[in-house]
């Protein structure tokens, strides 16, 4: 197959740090080239150089044998390079079609006024091709996360694309949607589009990838054909060391009931009844938008609920009071760390102590020395990679940010942990660290509810699995029944195929 793109000896230095060091990589026509590596390995920087968001310091970029001298976002677009970002890059207040054509709108003669009709037709055509049943005129804010991801892909395909870059496209998609996505990728391969694919979900790479390149610390480690490499080899190359087991949790006998949810009902979910026992990790599966996070938020007291009750260690919680919930030993680790979990402008120390601050300093005066010691002890215990407790959390990697959120709740001596998508967007090594931590918590007698869209993770970690579907608790799976098929069956049991959320944005 002919070479579509070649990046040669790319180097990029940011003040004080070498982000990329002599990285060469190429892309063939109609191939899916997987890029893999830990966070901060340089994958995103490399792709940003490709898309013109960054300028490289050295090295060259050529497309179909012709060297591109000065790359910028506009030029990259003209060259047919399209990015599908991990963090959704859509404007919620604009309609689907306006988003799809953002930056290259179709215009009427005279180049001033928009040609809305042909934009509508074209958008409809693209969405149809991708099998996405959404009206192009609807505002993006009304769409579910999954639907937004689809729109993002449609956006990339709206004009003639030669090279597509997927940056963790599946992190918010459910299995069936991933299947749809892979079908799209396969059909794109047939039209000679070359694709870079970045993901932390290793099993996906084997499903879709042709070749894989591993990056570590800004250097290229290896490029291999997918067929010639095993998952263990790959993990070793990524981490630079051997990681024996990803899922450490050994099933054990559960203790007394710590959390009891009884008939919890709101507009987003109906009649949820479940319990959590000491020492167990319970998975909560379901499609994105099934109401899992909404339920978790209501249990913790952030959102209100209509009826039902939440009991923790025999004590009934009042509605809508997260402070009491926290004091009683309940903790909640939200799905979106940056948006919901951390105060990014504040440092590690301040983020770690925030939830337990009233317990730590009952007389309301902060003892800085004690605070620093406490924070440092958790930094050490959880192995958070930061030089000091004073580093701003904004500058930590995803895995370390997640650990800070966990540390926050360890400090409160929480007994019940609700983890919402604990490993989304985290690299393999950090994932294993977080699993280890969950296991340890369970061993120490905590009860853990793990909300996840990652089925292997659910299957690998859970003692029991609850499955929600469209706001209803579709069922509970135990022991040997915990299989992909059974969970998916339950997850789809009440689905009506809505892509539009009810949330008023």
């Amino acid at each position: 197959m002919p070479k579509l793109l070649e990046l040669q000896s790319i180097g990029k230095t940011f003040p004080g740090v070498v982000a990329l060091d002599d990285v060469s990589i190429d892309l063939l026509v109609g191939e899916v080239h997987v890029l893999i590596g830990e966070n901060g390995a340089g994958k995103s920087t490399l792709m940003k150089i490709l898309s013109g968001a960054y300028q490289s310091d050295s090295g060259s970029l050529s497309i179909e044998g012709i060297e591109v001298l000065k790359n910028d976002p506009k030029k990259a677009e003209q060259l047919g390079i399209r990015m599908i970002y991990q963090e959704l890059n859509l404007i919620p207040e604009l309609s689907v079609m306006e988003n799809i054509f953002l930056g290259h709108e179709l215009k009427l003669k005279g180049q001033l006024f928009l040609n809305k009709r042909s934009m509508y037709e074209k958008a409809k055509e693209i969405l149809g091709k991708l099998n996405i049943p959404i009206d192009p005129k609807i505002q993006v804010k009304h769409l579910t996360i999954a639907a937004r991801q689809m729109v993002e892909i449609a956006k990339a395909l709206s004009s003639k694309a030669k090279i597509l870059v997927f940056d963790e496209p599946t992190s918010s998609l459910t299995s069936s949607e991933i299947k749809d996505l892979f079908a799209i990728i396969t059909s794109l391969k047939a039209t000679d589009v070359g694709m870079f694919y970045i993901s932390h979900r290793l099993e996906e790479l084997f499903m879709i990838g042709d070749r894989v390149t591993v990056l570590r610390d800004g250097k290229k480690i290896a490029t291999k054909n997918i067929k010639d490499i095993t998952i263990d080899e790959l993990i070793e190359k990524i981490a630079g060391r051997e990681i024996t087991e990803i899922y450490p949790h050994k099933k054990q006998t559960a203790g007394e009931v710590l959390l009891d949810i009884n008939g919890l009902t709101s507009e987003k979910f109906k009649n949820i009844t479940m319990d959590l026992r000491s020492g167990e990790i319970v998975g909560l599966s379901g499609l994105v938008g099934a109401g899992r996070s909404e339920m978790a938020r209501a249990v913790f007291g952030i959102d209100n609920y209509k009826s039902g009750s939440v009991t923790i260690c025999g004590e009934k919680l009042v509605k809508k009071n997260p402070k009491i919930a926290g004091q009683k030993g309940l903790s909640y680790l939200p799905e979106d760390r940056k948006e919901q979990g951390l105060a990014l402008p504040l440092n590690v120390r301040e983020n770690i102590v925030i939830a337990g601050i009233d317990q730590l300093f009952p007389n309301h005066i902060i003892n800085t020395q004690k605070e620093t010691q406490v924070a440092a002890s958790y930094v050490e215990e959880l192995n958070i990679a930061t030089p000091t407790t004073e580093k701003l959390t904004r500058f930590l990697s995803g895995g370390n940010q997640q650990k800070v959120v966990i540390a926050k709740w360890l400090l409160t001596k929480a007994k019940v942990f609700i983890f919402d998508e604990p490993t989304r967007g985290i690299d393999v090594a950090a994932k294993s660290g977080i699993y280890g931590l969950m296991d340890q918590l369970a061993k120490e007698g905590a009860a853990i509810l793990m909300i996840s869209s990652d089925l292997p993770e659910i299957i690998g970690m859970s003692d029991r699995v609850y499955v929600m579907s469209n706001g209803i608790l579709a069922g509970e799976v135990r022991g040997a029944d915990i299989t992909q098929e059974k969970i998916l069956e339950l997850a789809f049991s009440h689905v009506k195929g809505e892509l539009i959320t009810d949330e008023t944005a």
Binding site: G16, A19, A343, N347, I354, I357, I366
Partner: protein, 356 residues
């Protein structure tokens, strides 16, 4: 990893950055003083930098510090408080009325009532913002109108003037004179207030919660912080301080007028923003307010001293504000960028640039 040595913490770049962000105002302060001193020396052969003049500037700035702190606290959670000036007006007008009605009640009773009233208005603001979910800008704009209107209604068509001399010491009293430098009661009040608020913000658990709510209100909720309560309390403190500032104001002027402090909300925001606070919340150090208040006063004082024509005064004020903000946001962060080992800083700075 060892426990953090103190020195390490102090030298850490991020701590440094947060500290310096508000201290660039002091660099600017030196510049402003320098220019006016030289100009005065050359053009009039007078000494601008004499202790007596500095004393006057700091004394005048004390009042601005109080309203600046009131605004800064509101800004910390991202809720601007436009009603500061009007709260001052309505509370002090009532205060004056009370004094007028009966001269024999002990002074502290009306003072307490007034401060309580200020806190109540703050509570109202807080409820509007958190429970009724009205944007702070509009909510406090509305209360600004309402309070100003009530100030007129209460005062009728009279002006209350010549207040109790004992009461006036809180603004006019002198404590001690070192050479030509006079330490006045307002200076001490402002200093005490700054120390208390600084302690509250940096050393109390409540202060930490304020910063957390300002940085990320959703995360604060998810950490078990009662965010609404924090924001309401913040508004209460802000308006309480406004009422307090009102007392200082009338004591200084020896009069209560319904039209007083008509632009104070603007001044307060300017002082706070110059001091390194941002409209989106979560940033800022109270000492920055001290710098902001002194710089604003020093500019006015300096312009008077060099006999700048009145039509040019807003121009000079504008230019100096731009220069100060430029120092705050651009020069300093650029230096940080070189020193900072992390590439993410650049992104962070870019995103800061878009802040209001």
């Amino acid at each position: 990893m060892d426990t953090m040595p103190r020195l390490h913490r102090i030298l850490d770049i991020h701590t440094l950055k947060r500290g310096l962000y508000s201290s660039s105002i002091f660099i600017m302060l030196f510049l402003v003083f320098g220019v006016f001193t030289i100009y005065n020396r050359v053009a009039f052969d007078t000494n601008y930098l004499k202790a007596a003049n500095i004393s006057v500037i700091v004394n005048q700035a004390s009042f601005l510090m109080v309203v600046g702190v009131a605004q800064a606290i509101a800004l910390l959670t991202g809720d601007v408080n436009l009603s500061i000036g009007s709260v001052m007006a309505v509370t002090t007008v009532l205060f004056g009325r009370m004094l007028q009605q009966s001269s024999d009640i002990p002074l502290f009773i009306p003072i307490m009532l007034i401060l309580f009233l200020g806190a109540c208005i703050g509570f109202l603001n807080g409820i509007l913002i958190t429970k009724l979910k009205i944007p702070a800008f509009i909510a406090s704009f509305a209360t600004m109108y309402i309070c100003r209107g009530f100030a007129w209604v209460f005062l009728g068509k009279t002006v209350i003037y010549r207040l109790d001399e004992g009461f006036r010491t809180i603004s006019m009293g002198k404590v001690y004179t070192i050479g030509e430098f006079t330490i006045t009661v307002p200076m001490l009040i402002a200093l005490a207030l700054i120390l208390v608020v600084n302690f509250m913000l940096t050393r109390s658990t409540f202060g930490r919660k304020i910063y957390f709510v300002g940085s990320n209100v959703v995360a604060a909720q998810a950490s078990g912080i009662p965010t609404d309560r924090v924001r309401i309390t913040n508004q209460v403190i802000s308006s309480f301080l406004a009422a307090f500032a009102g007392l200082l104001y009338v004591a200084r002027l020896n009069a209560c007028e319904p039209g007083m402090a008509i632009k104070t909300h603007f001044e307060a925001i300017t002082v706070a923003l110059l001091g390194g606070f941002v409209m989106t919340g979560g940033y800022g150090n109270v000492w920055g307010v001290v710098g902001g208040a002194i710089i604003m006063t020093a500019i006015q004082n300096g312009m008077n001293s060099i006999q700048l024509p009145s039509e040019l005064q807003t121009l000079v004020m504008g230019l100096i504000i731009i220069l100060t903000v430029f120092m705050n946001t651009f020069l300093l962060e650029k230096k940080m960028l070189v020193a900072d080992k992390n590439i993410e800083t650049k992104k962070a700075i870019i995103s800061r640039g878009a802040q209001i």
